[in-house]
């Protein structure tokens, strides 16, 4: 098939980390790129899945004890830790307050913007199996649960970042 020269530039981000600041970096780049005419795909895997869980809090979810403990320890959006100086979860809240005061987009605002900018959210099938996470546990914007071949298809001819 012939490639169209007018095809949009594409950016794929592998959202591996569940750290608050790294999620902030991923969504800042993603929304900035989408607003600048790029096609953007976010592939969530392992700890990155915590960013897009429907339940933002901790829950003992899973079929066996280790998975239940894992899911409780990780929690959802409200439990994302700062990668440094987390201070038992106080720092992400503090940072959000500072950002709001300085008119800098917060992580919640960036995620909402990503949805409005029609950024594609996809999630890793294997990581979801490991962590006993089902599609219905993730926000509705996640349009597909995919394996590596599908991700590679998205990443073809694209800038790809691993965060």
């Amino acid at each position: 098939m012939e490639k169209s020269t007018k095809k949009k530039d594409k950016l794929c981000i592998i959202c591996f980390s569940g750290d608050f600041d790294k999620a902030l970096a991923a969504f800042t780049i993603a929304t900035g790129a989408a607003a600048s005419n790029k096609e953007v795909v976010l592939f969530f895997t392992f700890w990155g899945l915590n960013i897009i869980r429907k339940n933002p809090n901790r829950s003992f979810k899973g079929t066996d004890l280790p998975t239940r403990v894992f899911n409780f320890l990780m929690g959802g959006f409200n439990c994302l830790p700062l990668s440094r100086f987390n201070f038992c979860g106080a720092s992400p809240k503090l940072m959000t307050g500072i950002m709001r005061k300085k008119h800098i987009a917060t992580l919640t605002e960036l995620i909402e913007s990503a949805k409005l900018l029609k950024i594609k959210f996809i999630a890793c099938e294997m990581a979801m199996n490991v962590l006993d996470i089902k599609k219905e546990d993730l926000i509705d914007e996640v349009e597909a649960i995919v394996g590596i071949p599908t991700f590679l298809e998205h990443a073809k001819d694209s800038i790809t970042l691993f965060i």
């Binding site: 929304t31 900035g32 008119h103």
Partner: protein, 72 residues
Amino acid sequence: MKYELDVTAESCPMTYIKTRLQLDKLKSGDILEVLVNPGEPLKSIPDSAQEAGYKILEIIPKGEKHLIIIQK
């Protein structure tokens, strides 16, 4: 129809997100006037609007700020 948007209180990437979301709402012939700070927004907003097929009608200096007039 003419729309106005002031992004001078925003910083990256919200400057670009708000402009993009407002541009997406325009119908053919509509105009958007965006007030921006000097520096990157002044360069990047017209560039990416043009790349997406919008027309830059005028860029008017307003003191330190600039008003970018964009038409769909």
